[in-house]
């Protein structure tokens, strides 16, 4: 399934194996994200989607295989090099992960203050521009505690693009959002990708939504990419695991029942 | 936001100031080696010479008939006559103390602190600033007393043995 390493590959994952406490999460995972594209990584809960992101960011190291981001081997970077790599990547966390002791404005200004010495007027203009992009310029002075879930995620998105990253990683951007907020986030991901040309990786299990905007999709199952292709190609696949996930069937290769002893035997045995 | 950051700065400043003030109080007002604010009320100074002041400390009370009338402001050694010169500050309102009064170094309790007790004389002239008390009685040093007592016992025993 390994894709040829193209010059336009921003993220390249090759034969990665990773296990936590003896439980294998990835077993020969291959994945590529191309420049300027939206790559969707889908999969049922517990298939290690968040683990994949942590591997990409160099927070954890794979047991085997290579992960290269912008052509650099992430697992081999020391802290300073890793940090300078991370400055080129924006990340949107599942629940936003905004700093609870800072205002909306200061949250967006946070990476700018941390990495650049900008004069205050320029910084202010930059932050307002980023907030304008997510439609929250009017909320600049609000405290993060007063934000709704959808707004918090938009602020987090403004913060993620504050440093003008070349790669944006979204971790479950649609979880827990009402349809309107969901539509807003979806449109933002697409706009950021098409207007700024930011390469995007979206990790999600919301098949419908992401299929509308993704250029390329991967479906994780059993520690590897079980299927890959455009959303249309994926839908045409007949592999049972892909089918089950895309159509939301309760039983299939991912069984409905957790493995257990025989039903009748367990009910009739004289328990304690 | 501006007002909260201001109140934060004021609060922090107040705390740090208070902390250093307390630290200053501890290091300067408490220890023996520290400088001290002059807390002497309106008073006049009288000297007294003692053969031995024991462990009389600066600041110890000066009493008359058991009532506090002043305090010790200085304890010095006079190399001329090998005596201790004690300066007493006596409150101005007690300005009719006879100049032939005597001063004794006394102990509060068995092991307590030393203080200076004045006993009234009969003269019609009064102590004034800079005058000296002539009649003094030194501190009872417990160790000396005990030594004397044992020496006395030992002497008696020797005498008994000779007889």
């Amino acid at each position: 399934m390994g894709l040829p390493l193209g010059a336009d590959a921003v993220v390249e994952v090759r034969d990665v194996c990773y296990a936590i406490g003896g439980r294998s999460i990835f077993d020969g995972l291959n994945l590529t994200a191309r420049r300027g594209q939206i790559t969707a990584v889908m999969g049922p809960s517990g298939t290690g989607k968040t683990t994949l992101l942590r591997l990409l960011m160099g927070a954890i190291r794979p047991d085997a295989g290579q992960i290269s981001v912008f052509g650099e081997e992430v697992a081999q970077l020391r802290r300073p090099a890793l940090y300078s790599l991370r400055r080129r990547i924006g990340m949107l966390f599942q629940n936003g992960a905004l700093m609870s002791d800072l205002s909306v404005f200061e949250n967006v200004a946070f990476p700018l203050r941390a990495h650049m010495r900008l004069p205050e007027p320029l910084l202010r203009r930059l932050v307002l521009m980023k907030l304008q992009a997510v439609g929250l310029r009017g909320a600049a002075q609000m405290s993060t505690a007063a934000l709704s879930g959808g707004m918090a995620r938009r602020v987090a998105l403004a913060r993620a693009i504050a440093m003008d990253p070349e790669l944006l990683i979204y971790d479950e951007p649609f979880v827990g959002l009402d349809p309107i907020s969901l539509g807003v986030i979806l449109r933002l991901i697409e706009t950021l990708n098409s207007t700024l040309g930011i390469t995007s990786i979206v990790v999600t299990h919301d098949v419908e939504e992401i299929s509308r905007i993704a250029h390329h999709s991967y479906l994780l199952a059993g520690g590897r990419a079980a299927a890959a292709g455009t959303p249309a190609e994926l839908r045409a696949t007949t592999a049972p695991a892909v089918n089950q996930f895309l159509k939301g069937l309760p039983d299939g290769p991912v069984p409905f029942h957790v493995p257990a002893p025989d039903y009748r035997v367990q009910l009739l045995e004289p328990g304690q | 936001m501006n007002t909260t950051s201001r109140s934060l700065e004021i609060g922090t400043g107040l705390f740090v100031l208070l902390g250093f003030a307390a630290l200053g109080f501890l290091t300067t007002q408490l220890p023996a080696s520290g400088m001290r604010l002059n807390r002497a009320a309106d008073s006049y100074q009288v000297m007294a010479r003692f053969d031995n002041v024991g462990d009389l400390k600066v600041g110890a009370p000066v009493t008359m008939a058991g009532v506090r009338i002043g305090r010790v402001t200085a304890v010095a050694f006079d190399p001329g006559d090998f005596k201790a010169v004690v300066t007493l500050a006596i409150e101005r309102r007690y300005n009719q103390i006879p100049d032939d009064s005597d001063a004794a170094i006394q102990t509060s309790g068995l092991l307590g602190a030393k203080y200076v007790g004045l006993g009234a004389g009969g003269s019609s002239a009064y102590l004034a600033n800079g005058t000296e008390i002539q009649v003094t009685q030194s501190a009872l040093v417990l160790e000396n007393l005990v030594n004397k007592m044992f020496a006395g016992f030992a002497g008696k025993k020797d005498g008994d043995a000779k007889q």
Binding site: R159 | L26, A32, V58, L111
Partner: protein, 251 residues
């Protein structure tokens, strides 16, 4: 026994390594002095009321107990010395450290633990900001700076508390109360208290930030970490107190 000992060694090693990591970031963190000011406010100014109140009561108790003990030997004039030495050398640093662990330490732990639980620390790391420099080091330094100041305030209030009871209520002679104190307390005693309070400040702040930083990212985990902060701060404070007292008595 073996595993318990092993776990204790492991924990001590981790705390020590974390201390090295925090110390390395202390100087760089000073580039943002506002963060430090905020933490001095949180650890110090916010603990002020409780420290003053407790100092007053401890001083008053010392006044009563000290008088009751000393008058049996007829030395109630030594009440000032007894109270001042007891406060400056022992009770001030220890009780303030215990109060600090309960008031400031727990809030440090739960704050950092909550930042861990809501991915704020991970987010910083992903934004190439070291959370140890941005979050942990200012809180650690703030605690270290606040502690000796809190102890000094506790001591002064305590001495006046003892004076309030001893001189004001019982009627010990005010002059001998102060003069005895001033002639018998030495600068070395005050230094001993100061050094103790600095050591306790390091210990309590370190335990608070360590537990917060390593809290399980759940509500239950943060609660457990907060409890551990109080327990280990208290034990560490009393242990250090014994060792420091012994060291000072020998020197």
């Amino acid at each position: 026994m073996n595993t318990a000992l092993g776990r204790a060694m492991l924990r001590m090693g981790r705390v020590a390594l974390f201390l090295v990591r925090v110390l390395a970031q202390c100087l760089p963190s000073l580039r943002q002095p506002r963060l430090l000011v905020l933490q001095i406010y949180n650890a110090g100014a916010r603990s002020l009321i409780i420290v003053m109140l407790c100092g007053l009561f401890v001083g008053m108790v010392l006044g009563l107990q000290g008088y009751d003990l000393l008058q049996r030997f007829g030395s109630e004039s030594a009440l000032g010395v007894a109270a001042a030495l007891g406060l400056v050398r022992e009770l001030g640093p220890v009780i303030t450290a215990l109060l600090f662990a309960g008031r400031a330490g727990t809030s440090l732990t739960s704050e950092i633990g909550l930042m861990r639980a809501t991915d704020q620390l991970t987010a910083m790391e992903m934004m190439a900001v070291d959370p140890v420099r941005r979050v942990v080091a200012p809180r650690f330094l703030g605690g270290i700076i606040a502690m000796p100041l809190l102890v000094a305030i506790f001591n002064v209030i305590g001495i006046f508390g003892a004076q309030l009871i001893g001189v004001g209520l019982i009627g010990v002679e005010s002059g001998s109360f102060w003069s005895q104190m001033q002639s018998n307390v030495e600068l070395g005693d005050i230094n001993e208290g100061l050094i103790k309070s600095m050591c306790f400040g390091v210990a309590c702040s370190l335990m608070a930030v360590y537990e917060g930083y390593h809290a399980e990212p759940t509500a239950e985990g943060v609660g457990l970490a907060t409890t551990r902060t109080v327990v280990s701060s208290a034990v560490l404070t009393l242990l250090l107190d014994y060792m420091l007292t012994a060291a000072f008595l020998h020197s």
